[in-house]
């Protein structure tokens, strides 16, 4: 049995703040941050973030904003759209001496640096080389970044292979040189296994869910006024690919939904879904079947995950394992997803609660399930955050 160090000083580096999480990546980081601090780690975080892009409550104590002007966004002489994460990493590394001083001001000891995504890996390595020689570098690697970035750019009809090559170089370098890599799905696992150095350890920790609590009466009373008895639920942040392929799976018109069934949307994706369903002459009908909730509290999300009849996951592309997939599996609803929505959760497809569908049978499955009664007993405890984050704690302690 391994003997673990009791008090561990860690630094968490990210390109986005996460104190008030909205999208999946933020939720995962916040969960990890909270869990480790509760379990004997002295973990501090620094997020290098774009100013004015996040609410104040989201920003952590040590977070560092990027300059207010857009000079930092210039890459290879021109503005680089949709790659702020990568550019942030490059900017921080370019100004590494200044940022190292900032780190030194805040931290006297660091046992490990947890770099979420490879963007800040070069800077983490610089800290190691310059100041804290014995620290370990841990990489949080939820996506194969170059592939994901290519998909995102493609969805906006942008082709920029030189950027993709640069991203690929950075992530291969990070995979090769990290001491420990946390992965969320098998796809990344196989990718890393080929590239990693012999000393790099790979650990598998999926995105999880918090077990549903009982519906709070206050939330129920509030939502009861706007929700129909039976509804289909989709939730997500307002980032691609959460909305890019919505019409391909749910159709241009929600004609298959009876008048008493609605499609309820929550989260930042709401406005994008609204646009997707009101772009043509079907707008009037679609509006009659849509309920947009926009941002909702965790308590309301809990209510919706309890009450919805079906959760849909019409995700266009992406790597890693989606956080909302775990939440959907842990909900009290049927789950209708495409293969990307259920990536790495394939073993849970049972055609009783969780259905894997293609474009051509997605809507048909929804219609069939609307007639079925919900009754599920399995609790999927291995998918809870508690279970998954324990792996992270265990693995970090193992390399120190």
């Amino acid at each position: 049995m391994a003997i673990f160090k009791k008090n561990i000083d860690g630094l968490l580096l990210s390109t986005f703040p996460f104190m008030l999480p909205r999208h999946g990546g933020q939720v995962r980081l916040k969960k990890t941050y909270d869990y480790l601090n509760k379990n004997g780690h002295n973990l501090k975080s620094i997020a290098f973030f774009e100013q004015n892009a996040y609410p104040r409550a989201c920003i952590g104590k040590f977070d560092i904003p990027m300059p207010l002007n857009d000079s930092w966004q210039i890459y290879k002489g021109h503005q680089q759209p949709l790659a702020n994460d990568f550019i942030t990493g490059e900017y921080v590394f370019k100004n590494k001496d200044y940022f190292l001083k900032q780190v030194q001001k805040r931290f006297s000891n660091i046992d490990y640096i947890y770099v979420e995504h490879p963007w800040l890996y070069k800077f983490a390595n610089f800290i190691k080389e310059e100041k804290f020689h014995s620290l370990k570098i841990i990489l949080g690697y939820p996506n194969i970044e170059y592939k994901l970035k290519r998909e995102i750019l493609k969805s906006f009809s942008i082709q920029q292979e030189d950027l993709i090559d640069d991203i690929k170089k950075i992530e291969i370098h990070a995979i090769k040189n990290s001491d420990l890599i946390f992965l969320v799905s098998k796809t990344e696992m196989s990718f890393c296994q080929v590239i990693k150095s012999p000393n790099t350890k790979l650990a598998y920790s999926k995105n999880g869910f918090d077990p549903l609590s009982d519906v709070e009466n206050k939330s129920y009373q509030k939502l009861k006024k706007i929700l129909p008895k039976k509804f289909i639920f989709y939730f997500g942040s307002g980032h691609p690919p959460n909305f890019t392929h919505i019409n391909e799976y749910l159709g241009d018109i929600l004609a298959y939904l009876p008048p008493d069934v609605k499609l309820v949307i929550a989260g930042g994706v709401s406005q994008h879904v609204y646009s997707a369903f009101t772009k043509d002459e079907n707008f009037m009908f679609n509006q009659s079947r849509l309920i947009l909730l926009d941002e909702i509290s965790d308590c309301d999300l809990n209510t919706l995950l309890n009450l919805a009849h079906i959760i849909v996951l019409p995700i266009g592309y992406g790597g890693g394992s989606a956080l909302k997939t775990a939440q959907a599996i842990g909900s009290k609803c049927f789950v209708v997803s495409n293969n990307i929505g259920l990536r790495d959760f394939e073993e849970y497809i049972d055609n009783r609660k969780i259905y894997l569908c293609k474009k051509n049978n997605f809507k048909e499955t929804i219609v069939k399930l609307l007639e079925k009664r919900k009754s599920f007993k399995k609790n999927y405890s291995e998918l809870t955050w508690e279970f998954q984050l324990k792996i992270i704690d265990h693995e970090i302690r193992g390399i120190l």
């Binding site: 018109i253 004609a255 009876p258 008048p259 008493d260 002459e281 009908f285 809507k363």
Partner: protein
């Protein structure tokens, strides 16, 4: 128990046309042949169905039929105006002499105003009377409306009105789900969805909403033609709506007015009275883009340009000025080539229309798209040959090629050729009319509704 929804007729306050007329025929049929049918209306404000007792239904039928007669009186208003101007001119001629012309020009300018004042003063008086009667009416209506309906399991609810305006299909869906009764609707066409550009304004979203909800709420939909059924099912399929059972019902043909009824009838429109003494071709339809009057105008103009003016009969358009045809109306007004060839009349009574059908050489109907094509059936009912559009449902009306010719509505050359041929070959027309008499059978409304109320 059959429940016939008569909301459209109940709320209608003008002479009945199109769908309103179909509903009215259904009411007449039910009153006379289906004694166990009950009548209901939907109150959109209260979201409730109410029973309407047969006595009141009869009153509604009488009142709408009366309006039909009244419309003839309305049409006479224009004639009254002319009489008024005639006597005024006489008066002015003697009193004012040289100033008479000036005043007449002014009168011409104010002609619509004078007619409007005449009609509106009548309407105003009517409204005033209704207003005074209102409290009493409310009391009596309330009495009638007291019986709210809760359809039961074996009931059948039938609706064939302007339901996209008058109904709440979501509510109907809810109560149907609860009480498990049968719901049957009519579909006349889905042109606003298929060809929104051929309709006035952007009504497509309203009809998309309506026909999808119809798919969810109905157990059966009666389509007025095979083409309409094909369009509806295709639309449902393409939008992933549930595909419900459908069947085709042929609408009843207009009851023809026989010569005996017309013997004592005198055409009050002096222009029509004059024109029926010459050969003419008849086109009965609202003048709007979809009806494609333009192709007939162009065919006429080309024939005139080619030197056939003298052999061409007059062309009479019967129909009100619809939407999207302002340029065409200008052409018809200002093109000197057709000034004494093409005539337009509006607000024609059934009797006047009957005379026009009987006296015309043949009829034309070049519509771009139809749900059915009533004027074609009407022409055949009067035994008149029709050069009809080959589009959509029109060929379904009567496919016997010995009796009717179909032409692509866009094919100007064919229209031109056919119009010239039948205008100059009365023997051919006579043969066609003989065949129509032999083969065309008028469909009665009874036959139509026997299928619906079975």
């Amino acid at each position: 128990m059959n429940w016939l929804d008569i909301t459209t007729s109940y709320n209608w306050s003008r002479p009945p046309v199109g769908i309103v007329r179909v509903e009215l025929e259904a009411i007449n049929y039910s009153l006379n042949h289906r004694k166990n049918t009950k009548f209901c209306i939907f109150n959109k404000k209260l979201n409730k169905f109410y029973e309407i007792k047969k006595d009141e239904v009869r009153m509604i039928v009488d009142s709408l039929s009366h309006m039909q007669t009244q419309s003839i009186i309305h049409n006479n208003t224009s004639r009254k105006y002319h009489k008024f101007v005639f006597f005024l001119r006489l008066f002015l001629f003697y009193i004012l002499r040289d100033k008479e012309k000036k005043i007449e020009v002014r009168l011409k300018k104010y002609k619509p105003l004078i007619i409007n004042i005449y009609i509106n003063s009548k309407r105003f008086l009517k409204s005033l009377v209704s207003f005074v009667k209102l409290p009493f009416n409310c009391l009596s209506k309330k009495k009638n409306l007291n019986t709210e309906i809760f359809f039961k399991k074996n009931d059948t609810y039938i609706s064939m009105g302007l339901d996209w305006d008058n109904k709440d299909l979501k509510y109907l869906y809810d109560i149907k789900k609860k009480n498990k009764f049968n719901v049957k609707f009519f579909c006349y066409d889905i042109i606003p969805i298929l060809y929104p550009h051929l309709c006035s304004g952007n009504v497509s979203p309203i009809f998309i909403d309506y026909y999808i909800n119809l798919a969810h709420v109905s157990d059966h939909v009666y389509c007025i033609s095979a083409n309409t059924r094909k369009d509806l099912v295709k639309f449902w399929r393409s939008s992933n709506a549930p595909i419900k059972s459908t069947s085709i019902v042929r609408l009843g043909d207009t009851e023809i007015i026989h010569d005996s009824a017309l013997t004592n009838f005198q055409l009050q429109n002096l222009n029509i009275n004059h024109l029926i003494n010459f050969d003419f071709i008849l086109l009965v339809s609202t003048i709007e883009r979809r009806k494609n009057h333009e192709i007939i105008y162009r065919a006429y103009v080309r024939l005139i340009d080619k030197g056939y003016k003298d052999v061409l009969p007059n062309l009479i358009f019967i129909g009100m000025h619809g939407w999207g045809v302002n340029d065409l109306m200008d052409d018809l007004k200002y093109d000197p080539r057709i000034r004494d060839k093409i005539y337009i009349f509006n607000n024609i009574s059934d009797y006047e229309l009957a005379i026009l059908y009987k006296k015309c050489l043949f009829t034309v109907y070049p519509s771009l798209y139809e749900g059915w094509g009533l004027p074609v059936a009407e022409s055949l009912s009067y035994g008149k040959f029709c050069l009809a559009s080959s589009s959509s449902s029109v060929p379904e009306i009567f496919s016997n090629k010995e009796c009717i010719d179909f032409i692509d509505p866009w094919d100007l050359y064919s229209w031109e050729k056919a119009i010239l041929f039948f205008s100059t070959n009365k023997k051919e027309l006579y043969k066609k009319e003989k065949m129509i008499k032999k083969h065309f059978k008028i469909t009665s409304w009874k036959t139509t509704f026997e299928k619906v109320f079975k």
